[in-house]
Symmetry: C2
Subunit: 199 residues, 2 copies
């Protein structure tokens, strides 16, 4: 249907998450239909962002500055480290305005079959960070997926000899969820971890 | 949550159809997280496409060549003109491999309240095209929306004194649709335009 540069644009747009062939085609046609300057603004701001953002040397979060705003903010509590899979998860937690500690981005979750081991998830850097600060709690804010669970278990085991509280996000029924449509794994876990209504 | 160039990227991505704030944020974070060369490819191919595509002087379709592949293809039947709102609709019809005539892109639908009149929908150009070729049929392949209906009625009225068949796409229940979830307007029209099962 398309050819040449437009076909290439469709293929390139398709590499993005949640963008399938049809959406990519719609976006590509949109981009060549609109005012040239508007489309060029999109291209330019991709270039600008890609060139401006780098991983914070301390916590790996993607940031325009290094150290990032979180690491350089002395009002944040460096004794509590929230370990997340990626920058987006850190931003989602930050948006709650409830966490005032520091972040640490793994960038990957452990997946030995895919060759992703402790080095790939930046474990040596995390270990060094934990040792250099007087950390009292590590919150492992990782997805309760197979890879997330492996990573949680691995990280917890690495710090078990230290006087540090290792926590993870609670698991159970999501608010607004429906027991009828909940997996038996989630339901069984929710039953096991039930808590007092008065809590 | 974001600032500087990344915030600008989010705002620019948000200008695209079907891209809301959350998707724009996800895409922006994706773009700064992946290999720099992959992200730059996206930016470059937007630039390349925007610079390569222009409106065909004859039919207004967006094309790398002028005249476009449809207008320059002498094997196509120039006596049948399919009038569409935009390039995407022309491509969607072309994908059916059933239409072998020419296209004409309006770029807009009539909307007097928004200041979109006959000139804005390229009517003078269409009129000239119809007069220069021995057109036997004009297919008004426009959406059955308020603007589409106005445009269909306007265009039909402009050609009614000519010996040209003016047709429009059939209206009725969509295949796979459900009468229960169909608007009364669609249902009433489907009843009125009912046809013999043997047809």
């Amino acid at each position: 249907m398309f050819n040449g540069v437009l076909d290439e644009l469709v293929n390139n747009l398709k590499t993005m998450p949640g963008i399938g062939l049809k959406t990519a085609q719609r976006l590509a046609l949109h981009l060549i239909s609109i005012e040239k300057t508007t489309a060029m603004k999109i291209a330019d701001s991709i270039t600008d962002s890609v060139n401006s953002y780098k991983h914070c040397a301390q916590c790996n979060i993607l940031s325009e500055t290094d150290p990032c705003n979180f690491c350089s903010d002395s009002s944040r509590n460096s004794q509590v480290i929230c370990v997340v899979e990626n920058t987006q998860d850190a931003y989602l937690i930050e948006k709650l305005h409830e966490f005032k500690g520091r972040y640490f981005v793994l960038n990957e979750l452990l997946s030995p079959l895919d060759g992703i081991g402790p080095d790939e998830i930046n474990f040596p850097k995390l270990y060094k960070l934990i040792n250099s600060e007087e950390v009292v709690e590590i919150i492992l804010a990782l997805n309760p997926s197979a890879e997330g669970e492996s990573t949680i278990n691995y990280l917890a085991s690495q710090f078990e000899d230290k006087p540090i509280k290792i926590t993870r996000l609670s698991t159970g029924l999501p608010f607004g969820g429906d027991i009828e449509y909940t997996s038996s794994l989630t339901l069984s876990n929710a039953l096991k971890r039930r808590y007092l209504v008065s809590d």
